[in-house]
């Protein structure tokens, strides 16, 4: 009888572990897109970071080979309808949490594009997270 109980507990435990062990435990970057822009101008990219892991993470930097600099910024609405933009040193991504980069909010800023960003083309972005490490994604260029 005791043996059966132990077996049952082991069975339930393994099922629970199995359920948690899916791909949702990773940190992923979804729904990425970048705005069309001309060479020499500045551009922006948007996406959703989903942290499926049980530990808090931090986005340390984003890099690309299409601009003089690739930075993380946040647009904020101040009093009286004034929009202000602040460069972000890092962006916290809470455990099991989601951080959305969207127009008028957090965004990746391309300073001085070295090439045109044309609708239909894609660019490569490399994200550097404190825990999840480096993540490389393809980002399509499209109209909002």
């Amino acid at each position: 009888m005791k043996n059966i109980s132990v077996l049952l507990i082991l069975l339930i435990a393994s099922l629970l572990l199995g359920a948690c062990g899916g791909s949702s435990e990773e940190l992923t970057i979804q729904s990425a897109w970048a705005r069309p822009a001309s060479v020499g101008a500045n551009g922006a990219a948007y996406f959703v970071i989903e942290n499926g892991a049980g530990t808090d993470d931090t986005l340390l930097s984003v890099s690309s080979e299409i601009a003089s600099a690739t930075e993380v910024h946040m647009s904020m609405e101040m009093d009286g309808g004034v929009m202000s933009m602040q460069m972000q040193e890092s962006v916290p991504v809470p455990a099991k949490g989601t951080v959305e980069f969207k127009p008028g909010g957090l965004h990746v800023m391309f300073v001085e594009l070295t090439q045109d960003l044309k609708v239909g083309e894609t660019i490569i972005l490399v994200f550097n997270f404190e825990h999840a490490g480096a993540k490389t994604i393809e980002v399509p260029i499209r109209e909002p």
């Binding site: 705005r35 822009a37 001309s38 101008a41 500045n42 551009g43 922006a44 003089s68 600099a69 930075e71 910024h73 647009s75 609405e77 101040m78 009286g80 309808g81 004034v82 929009m83 202000s84 933009m85 602040q86 460069m87 127009p103 008028g104 965004h107 800023m109 391309f110 300073v111 001085e112 109209e143 909002p144």
Partner: protein, 203 residues
């Protein structure tokens, strides 16, 4: 006898239609604008700025057109393209009525934005869009009159300084008076509704 009945029915129908029309006129709710209405509309002092190829843009030359005006700068990667992309949707949706509206961007960063640069930036979204810059005195008096806040800020970006600026859209009526403002975040659909109503009222 049949004829008499017919007249009676016609009479009733006429009365019902008449009453319905009366109710419609008396009780119809007035259109409620999405934008913030300025009542009475505020006269705007005439101004002259430059567009591409040193062409002059004079406010008083635009009489008869509705003007959608916003302030931005060409190094701005996020908020300004959002507004211009909204303008593009509005323009495309208005169809032929778009010819009754001028879409204008005035720079908030004259030190870096030449008239050619702002024109080219606006035209990238639609060749009909007008981008303007000019001398500091002219720009400053427009900002001041419309209550546009403009401030440079150093944030350590490789882009150099950034510019905090009022991001509302200003709507000037066909006489060049400030009629309404759209706060940042007003959707293209909301702008289209309001513009259609304005165009309807002026017909």
């Amino acid at each position: 006898m049949i004829k008499k009945n017919l007249y009676f029915v016609l009479f009733i129908v006429t009365v019902v239609i008449g009453l319905t029309m009366l109710v419609e006129v008396v009780f119809r709710k007035p259109y409620s604008f999405h934008g913030t209405i300025i009542n009475p509309p505020l006269p705007v002092t005439d101004f002259t700025l430059q567009t591409s190829n040193e062409e002059v843009f004079r406010l008083s030359d635009q009489k008869g057109k509705i003007i959608l005006l916003f302030f931005g700068y060409t190094s701005c990667p996020d908020v300004c393209p959002v507004t211009l992309a909204t303008f593009k949707q509005v323009y495309d949706n208005l169809g032929v009525d778009a010819q009754q509206v001028r879409f204008v961007m005035i720079t908030a960063d004259p030190d870096r934005d030449t008239p050619d640069k702002v024109s080219e930036y606006a035209a990238r979204f639609n060749p009909e869009f007008i981008g303007l810059s000019g001398d500091m005195t002219a720009l400053y008096s427009i900002w001041k009159e419309l209550g546009v806040f403009v401030e440079k800020q150093e944030t350590g970006s490789a882009a150099g300084y950034l510019v905090s600026h009022t991001s509302s859209v200003y709507v000037l009526n066909q006489s060049g008076n400030l009629l309404m403002t759209f706060p940042y975040g007003t959707t293209a659909i909301e702008m289209i509704d309001d513009l259609n109503e304005l165009l309807k009222q002026s017909r």
